[in-house]
Symmetry: C2
Subunit: 175 residues, 2 copies
């Protein structure tokens, strides 16, 4: 009998896709500003980047994001062991939906459309393990919670969640 | 203290949007054929309509669908009493995503983007009540399940689900 695989829910922005890097690049190209990590610490993207809304609503913003280091190879291996779902709070930016699907198809071709979830709030998804960079998503999740370090959460106490700083640490915990 | 509202998950195609009506209209316009309800009984859309894939992949197919009778007014009232989510298996047809959001904004403007979920499989969503026209979605759901009658399920035994034939019956059960 095949053992039942655990449901592993993986966030997209800030966990698979380097969205912070996109904001930094867009801001530099737009107004010539490069903020330091100290400037960004503890601030949500919307607070840290003055023209946040302009950037996220511009064509190609999500599609041209760089995958976070080691994410592709690790998710490929996790996909054999877990029932993997990519769960993204994408509804606030409707333009991003198609770009996000295309991005996943390009960088994670081994995942199927059945493994993608776009939602407004993550309170509606359930599973065994969640990897996310936002406390609001992890705090309401019933299973094991892994906080992926990003500048906006780096200064916060980790509470009941397990903090990881990169995909190598995820590999150590989950594989 | 505000009582916690129950999470009510409502399917889109075949429950809010008259997708069967769309297929019938597209098929007639395309090849001049009008199938009777008897022809359609017990068949999934893909089996019943020869050019299914062409229609669902054509621009405007989802956006121009007619809301099912009484759905708008009933969902408006349910939205006061329940924590309503619209949950649609939309990932197989990436073109549909934006159309579906625009359709909801047009016909259900009282719902927010936070209440929309697009997924590949509904095994990943959880809540208290699910209204759907497909057994595969209801069968894996942990809460109360309501089967919305459509030609493809009309000939099947209802099993553990409660069958409703229209939105008036949903109003009677849930309000």
């Amino acid at each position: 009998m095949t053992p039942i695989k655990k449901k592993l829910l993986i966030d997209m922005d800030g966990v698979l896709a380097d969205i912070y890097g996109q904001f930094i690049k867009y801001e530099f190209n737009d107004i010539g500003l490069t903020q330091s990590l100290t400037d960004l610490t503890g601030k949500l993207e919307r607070e840290a980047f003055k023209y946040h809304d302009k950037y996220v609503n511009s064509e190609n913003f999500f599609y041209s994001a760089i995958p976070i280091e080691d994410s592709i190879e690790t998710v490929r291996r996790l996909n054999d062991v877990y029932e993997v779902y990519i769960v993204s709070s994408a509804m606030q930016f409707p333009l991003s939906l198609t770009e996000k699907i295309n991005w996943l198809t390009k960088h994670f071709p081994f995942l199927s459309w059945k493994q993608i979830v776009f939602c407004g709030t993550k309170e509606i998804v359930c599973g065994d393990i969640m990897i996310d960079d936002h406390f609001k998503n992890l705090d309401t999740f019933q299973g094991q919670t892994i906080l992926f370090t990003q500048p906006h959460n780096i200064d916060k106490p980790t509470d009941n969640h397990t903090r990881v700083n990169n995909w190598k640490e995820i590999k150590t915990i989950l594989l």
